[in-house]
Every structure is written in structure tokens, then in C-alpha cells.
């Protein structure tokens, strides 16, 4: 848990505060993204937590491994920083040190022995899906994306409960950024760190955050809420503008197809006879039907027109489906897939290509209407 109470920062020589009376709590194991226009004090806020910047007023508490709330302003800043993971946009790997030495920086300060540092470093590389050979390489031998992963791994080396991340994926190209974001979210499911994550990109804030703190240009907190709530119930005009006119579409990012799909879709077995299939389609009033094998794996679809006055088994008349959606896909991506093909309904498949449900645009719309009317999505 990270708790800020009436935190204010006024830089020497200025009169207006860079951060103005900020109070919010990041629950244990959640990511809180801080977002706002440039100069809103989001980085200042983050740096006050590990006291790279000293607050002018207010209190900051961090929950340590022993489950005690500690007032960071009463701690030795050096000890404090060694217990908080820190990742910056420019990564800041030490160019004269190997990846192993880089990752071992904090463990070494905490006086771990070399065997333990090495095994921890290997464990971290495994988490990041990187080969162990990297341990003896130097940062300049790695690509930008790999360096960023090492930067994150280095911050996690001593397994600190709290991490601060300052635009960690900001300098990465969009494709790799998306990849790194997804990887990190997956990792977070396991490591459950309490994270303060600074970004200037509202889309990133929505994607990464369990909670979002939006600051205005005067360093005041405008809204602190879950992404769904911020999108469906922006507190004021500033938030509405900041989130953008497409906030309804953005909400689709937060919902996965799994949540809206028809979980008991109408399906045919590839071993059914044409006659039987036509009869079932008549009963259900369907012109088209998806066909699966005995393992529920998607084979394709059949249409009533194709089957009419035919005999034999339906797998002879099955057409391959142009697309299917992975079950973990978000609704925004799913909708864009749906708009690309002229099927009214698309199959949702799991990672073994088994049909788990079907989805159509009406279901997407219904889900949106629901969030809008109740703004209750965050409990889902």
C-alpha cells in the first residue's frame, strides 16, 4: 500500500505549488497510474515517494514487507530507496556493468552473496522470457526492448513490495510497447506489486492502471478512480476533455470478449448428417451455423442454402471461417475484427482453438449501454 496525505511540493523560488494537497491511497497489489498534462507534477509526486524529491508538506506512508505502515519521511532515504523498485523511461542501465551486475545492484547493496544474486538474476530472466546468456552481456549489446525488460527486472531484483515506474515504456516503439505492456500486466498477475506508474498517455493509463489518478496543470488531483469509472463517469469537464471524445470506445478496451459473448452458442457437430442439421437449423430458425469437431474445435460454418437438397455428412459442405477471436481479446479489437468481415456472428475460441462462445455487434453495444447506465464495471 502507498498512502499520500495532503502532499504538497513547492519548489524553491516558486510560489505556486507543483503538487497541491494530494491525497490518495494505492491498495496493496494494484497498479495506480498517474496521468496529466506535462508539468502537472506527476513525476514529482512519484519521486516524493522514494524521496528523490522532498515534499514541502504532507505525509507519505508505504507498507513494508513486515506489514507495517512506514512514514517515508522518517526513514533514511538510502534504506527507503533500496526497498522500493525504481524504473525510469531512459532505463539508466550502467553501461560499464554486465546485465548480471546491473540486476545485482540492489541485492549487492543488501549484501546478498553472489550465488543468491546469480540465481535471482536467472529467475528474473526467466520471468522476462530472456535467455540466461544475457547475464554476461553488456547493456549496449541488447536491443531497446530487451534493455527495458532488464530495467524492470533490475527494479524487481530484491523483490520490493512497492515499485515506482516513470514512463517505463515511453521510449519504446508502439509495437514493442504494446508487447511490453502486455507482458508486464501478465507478470503483475503473479508478482502483485504495489505500483505507482507515471505516464502522459491516457490510453496507457487506462490499460495499465487498476486505479488512475488524473492531475491538472496546477498539480491538483482531479479524479482518482478505476479506469472504467473514469471513462463512464468523468468527474468534470477537465477529465472529459483529458480522456477524449472517444471515451466510449476506450471503455471497450477494458472489457474482454469473454465477458459479453454468448456462452451457449448454436453449434453443429461435423459428424452430423445433412438431414439432421437442416432439421435443427429449422427448429432454431438459423440460416447459418458454426461446425465443430468432437473436441469443440472450430471447423468452419455451413449455410442452409448449401445444405438444401443435399445428403451425406455436413463436413463435406463446411466453409472455413475467415476469422475467430481469442477469448482474451478486448472488445475494441474484437469490434474492429467484426467490422472487417461480413459475418453477423463470430466465434470466440480459447488457446487450443476450441469454440467457447460467439459474439456479435449487438452484444458489444449492449455491454456498452450497461456500463454507461450503471458505471459498475470495476467490480467485474
Amino acid at each position: 500500500m502507498i498512502k499520500l496525505e495532503h502532499v504538497t511540493k513547492i519548489y524553491p523560488g516558486t510560489t505556486s505549488p507543483a503538487v497541491d494537497d494530494l491525497s490518495f491511497t494505492v491498495p496493496t497489489g494494484e497498479i495506480c497510474t498517474i496521468v496529466g498534462p506535462s508539468g502537472c507534477g506527476k513525476t514529482t509526486t512519484m519521486k516524493m515517494v522514494n524521496r528523490l524529491i522532498e515534499p514541502t508538506d504532507g505525509e507519505i506512508y508505504v507498507l513494508n514487507e513486515r506489514g507495517e505502515m512506514q512514514n517515508v519521511l522518517e526513514m533514511d532515504p538510502i534504506i527507503l530507496r533500496r526497498n522500493i523498485g525504481y524504473v525510469i523511461q531512459q532505463i539508466g542501465l550502467f553501461p560499464h556493468r554486465t546485465i548480471l551486475q546491473n540486476m545485482g545492484t540492489v541485492p549487492k547493496l543488501l549484501e546478498w552473496d553472489n550465488t543468491r544474486i546469480r540465481s535471482r538474476a536467472e529467475e528474473l530472466l526467466d520471468m522476462m522470457n530472456m535467455p540466461h546468456e544475457f547475464l554476461d552481456r553488456y547493456p549496449h549489446e541488447l536491443s531497446g526492448g530487451q534493455r527495458q525488460r532488464i530495467g524492470v527486472a533490475r527494479a524487481m531484483a530484491s523483490d520490493p513490495p512497492v515499485m515506482l515506474m516513470d514512463e517505463p515504456f515511453g521510449a519504446i516503439d508502439p509495437i514493442n510497447r504494446n508487447l511490453l505492456q502486455n507482458e508486464f500486466l501478465r507478470l503483475q498477475q503473479e508478482i502483485k506489486k504495489t505500483i505507482l506508474f507515471v505516464t502522459h498517455d491516457i490510453d496507457e493509463a487506462i490499460k495499465m492502471g487498476d486505479k488512475i489518478a488524473i492531475l491538472n496543470a496546477n498539480g491538483q488531483l482531479e479524479q482518482y478512480d478505476s479506469p472504467a469509472k473514469i471513462l463512464s463517469e468523468p468527474a468534470n469537464e477537465f477529465i472529459e476533455d483529458f480522456v477524449g471524445a472517444d471515451r466510449t470506445l476506450k471503455q471497450l478496451n477494458l472489457i474482454r470478449v469473454e465477458e459479453v459473448m454468448d456462452k451457449k452458442p448454436f453449434l453443429l457437430q461435423s459428424t452430423q448428417s445433412v438431414e439432421e442439421a437442416l432439421q435443427v437449423m429449422d427448429e432454431e430458425g438459423q440460416d447459418y451455423a458454426y461446425v465443430v469437431d468432437s473436441d469443440r474445435r472450430l471447423q468452419g460454418y455451413v449455410s442452409r442454402k448449401d445444405l438444401k437438397e443435399k445428403s451425406g455428412w455436413i463436413d463435406e459442405y463446411t466453409t472455413t471461417a475467415a476469422t475467430s477471436l481469442p477469448i482474451t481479446m478486448n472488445l475494441r479489437d474484437a469490434l474492429s475484427e467484426m467490422l472487417m468481415v461480413d459475418y453477423s456472428t463470430i466465434c470466440v475460441v480459447d488457446n487450443r482453438d476450441r469454440v467457447r462462445g460467439t459474439v456479435n455487434t449487438a452484444m458489444v453495444q449492449e455491454a456498452l449501454m450497461e456500463t454507461h447506465s450503471s458505471g459498475k464495471r470495476e467490480e467485474v
Binding site: 530507496r81 525510469i88 539508466g92 547493496l109
Partner: protein
Amino acid sequence: MEEKTSFWSRITFSDIVDWTLIPILMIGVVISVYIWLLLPIEPGSMEANIIGDPVSGFSNVWASVLQHLKLIGISSVLAILAAVPAGILITREGFRDFADIILGVANFGQSVPSIAILALFMGIMGIGAPTAIFALWLYALLPIVRNTATGIDEVSADVIEAARGMGLTNRQILFDIELPLSFPVMFAGIRTASVINVGTAALGAFIGAGGLGNFIITGIPLSRERMILIGAILTAVMAVMVDWILGKIEDRLVFRRE
């Protein structure tokens, strides 16, 4: 990792050239000096009195070489001891204001002609090696102070911020991060200062500090070209060798980015 082949098989032709070309050339020059300039010296002549007897050994030449090395060695080591801490100091928080003063003093040492510095301090300290060493020391300060400070300032701010954010103390940041990363630039300053000192030390002879300059300043009024050439060539050889040796040390110590 797979590159653990034997040491010898990894040596390439260019490595061999890199390691032997300059020393072999310089040995060649020294041998030529011996054959063409020293061997023809007649025993008992005035040159033999000053330079030494080519048959019984060139005690004077050798003594001058050692004296020259002593002048540059002592002054360079003292300069490093003074200038590196000064260079570090002016990059520290709270001491940046002193940068101008310290660089100003060092600049003074550099911009006044070396011969004038010698003359100036001869007036204060008298003649002899200590005065020459002091002047050489002053002369060597600037490149080292400036390069040390520049090297440290050039260390990426991101690296420092990451280090501070991970809980390194100021001392650890200096010794583990800033100094290793600024070492190439700092060492380049030391190398420059040392090489310049070899040449400047030849002027030490004017104030009785000895060294290879003796042959030159004695040879000029006597119009003995042989004497002048011995002083000039050996000084040049020493400068080239000091540069080469420091270059090799640099290769060993300096972390390579590429």
C-alpha cells in the same frame, strides 16, 4: 562464451603491428643515434666531456634520460594527485561555484608560456630541479582537472538518477558509477599532460634542472649539431614512448563502449 579458444590463436596480424610497430621504430631511431651521432665522438674531445665516452659507456646521456624521466614522473604524479581530486570536487554539489576559480588557476598555468613560468618561479624558488618540477606540475594541472570534470559531467544523468533511485549513496555513485564511466576522458587528460610535459621538461635545463634539454642548450651556443640532435631526438623518442605506453595502459583499463 564459445570464444574460449587459445590466447595465441586470437592474436591477429593487426594486433602484432599494434604492439610492436612503435617500439621497433623507436629502437631503430635510438640505434641510429648511437651509430651516427655517438660512435664518432673522439675520446678526450670537448663533446666527449659533455656527452660521455662512447666506448666506456654514455654515462652522461643515460643520466640525462633518467633525470628527464624524474622531472616528468614526479611532476605528472603530483599533478594527477592534485588535479583528479580537484576535478572531482568541482563537480560536487555545493562546490560547482569553485569551478571557475580552480579552472582559472589551471588555465593560468596553461596560458602563460612554459619558458615564462620557469623564469617566473626561478625568481621565487631559485634554480634547480624542484623549480622545474613545480612549473611542470602547474603546467600539467589544466588538462587533467578539465578532463576529470568533463568526464564526470558527461556521465548520463539517467544513469545517475537510476543509481540514486536504487539507493546508492553519493560516495557509491562517485566510485562505482561516475569515476569508472568518466575514466576514459580523465585518462586522456593525463596522457595529454604527460606527453606535453616530456617536451616542456627539456626547457628545465635553462634553470639547471638537468635532463635531455642540457644537450640542446649547450649545443646551440657551441654550434654543435650533433649535441643538439641527441637532445632533440631522444626527447622526441621519449614523448612518443610515453604516449604509446599510456595508450596501452588506457586500452587495458578503460571500459570500451563499442
